[in-house]
């Protein structure tokens, strides 16, 4: 790794001050599971690295009137182990559990996963299907936005160079909402998603309400499938309804072919996983 100067941020305020001082020349280091890999192969190292991994105010997982707020630095392991998350947001617990291996989950953070902006991220679809938003903080104050607004392009988010992702908020209305996360990889352990799907829906006397479908690894960013959602909203549940929603969702994605899978295969799998994710919501 090429040399850089390292600063350690005590808390989020300190991190924002350091970012204001060093701005675009600095990179933030949280869990390091992406950044260190990148820096090892980078031709040009950043001049400054700001280590935020000890900013204690960014680690808490708390329940408030607004919903469940997860500090950006909560690790995947901390999130998947927390009873609060397992009970109220099992789909999120499953999605972070599917990331990497134990070693990765002990270091990697939820904020880091989102900020990576990688289309195949696992936490993104689960959070999107739960209508989660992100809280960004910078010298101009705080900004809240939905994940749909946050994800801009592959590896690009709406985070400005002087801003920090401080927390992820799952709104109160989504706590306890039936939701499921399914991931298809080339193997069970330590695999990137070929396709991942999260779905959530309320069930009101046999009718689906507020359905959400989010897809990963099949478009430039994690996306919702609004046409499939609109199709399902207010519809009675039948096997054919769920299968049709899967087919519609497949048509809303823009998968690519690469060495892991072809676009055609990914599209087929979106239909299958969407149907299964919806089925699982209904049995919860």
């Amino acid at each position: 790794m090429r040399g850089f100067q390292l600063f350690r941020a005590r808390d989020s305020r300190h991190a924002i001050e350091l970012l204001a001082q060093h701005g675009p020349e600095a990179r933030l280091l949280a869990g390091g599971t992406d950044l260190l890999v990148e820096l090892k192969s980078a031709a040009r190292a950043p001049r400054i690295v700001i280590d935020i991994s000890r900013a204690a105010d960014l680690k808490s997982i708390t329940l408030s009137d607004r919903g469940l707020e997860i500090g950006a630095l909560a690790t995947h392991a901390e999130i998947e182990r927390r009873d609060l998350v397992r009970n109220m947001l099992p789909a999120l617990a499953e999605s972070v559990h599917s990331i990497g291996a134990v070693q990765t989950r002990n270091l990697g953070t939820l904020g880091g996963n989102l900020v990576s902006g990688v289309p195949s991220m696992d936490s993104g679809p689960a959070l999107m299907a739960l209508d989660a938003s992100v809280i960004l903080a910078g010298p101009r104050g705080e900004r809240h936005m939905t994940l749909g607004e946050f994800f801009v392009a592959p590896r690009r988010t709406a985070l400005a160079a002087d801003e920090l992702l401080t927390a992820i908020l799952v709104p109160k209305a989504s706590l306890g909402k039936p939701a499921a996360f399914l991931k298809l990889g080339l193997r069970k352990g330590q695999a990137l998603a070929l396709v991942n799907v999260a779905a959530s829906a309320w069930l009101d006397s046999g009718v689906l309400k507020q359905p959400r479908i989010a897809l990963g690894a099949v478009a430039p960013t994690v996306i919702r499938a609004p046409l499939a959602e609109r199709y399902l909203d207010g519809r009675s549940i039948t096997a054919e309804t769920l299968a049709e929603a899967g087919r519609i969702a497949a048509g809303e994605a823009a998968p690519i072919s690469d060495f892991r899978a072809s676009a055609e295969y990914r599209r087929e799998m979106i239909a299958v996983l969407t149907r299964r994710a919806l089925q699982r919501c209904l049995t919860l």
Partner: protein, 158 residues
């Protein structure tokens, strides 16, 4: 260069390290603890697994400076002068290693598991070892070894 103090295998080790030095490089190149292996260097293979504050991490994905003030356990910290740790003994008894390159990492991942879960299921063991790649022995014998070590540590009959 950051001045740091890390507890390694129970001993306080002050060090003055370049900012970009990984914990793996500190352990191997500065402290001479070469039981922790350099494999892929990008967090895929798990050969560099050590325990930091009891948790299994890839030492190649952590800066040495990030381990400041923390407790690190490497494979050298497991055995006592005249006795292998029950996990090491079980890996030997079950022939769970051939070339042995993945062994230190796999054994430390297993230790982190057993520290929190003295009676893991086969599935839990497989999950705990999912980040430790072995290219010669295979995993069945490792799983048997972890089960045997768990029994020994619980004081059950072997």
């Amino acid at each position: 260069m950051p001045d740091i103090v890390i507890t390694v295998n129970g001993e306080l080790r002050p060090a003055n390290v370049p900012a970009e030095m990984t914990l793996l490089s500190l352990l191997r190149d500065v402290l001479g603890l070469t039981g922790t292996k350099l494999g892929c260097d990008v967090g895929d293979c798990g050969a560099c697994t050590v325990l930091v504050d009891g948790q299994a991490v890839n030492a190649c994905l952590m800066l040495a400076a990030q381990a400041d003030g923390r407790e690190v356990l490497t494979i050298e910290g497991l055995a006592s002068a005249d006795r292998l740790h029950p996990l090491q003994q079980a890996f030997e008894n079950h022939a769970a290693l051939q070339c042995g390159f993945c062994g230190p990492g796999a054994i430390l991942s297993a230790k982190a598991l057993l520290d929190g879960n003295p009676a893991p299921t086969t599935r839990e063991i497989r999950e705990a070892l999912a980040g430790n790649l072995c290219r010669c022995t295979g995993y069945s014998k490792m799983i048997e070894a972890v089960q045997a070590a768990a029994r020994a540590l619980r004081g059950d009959a072997p």
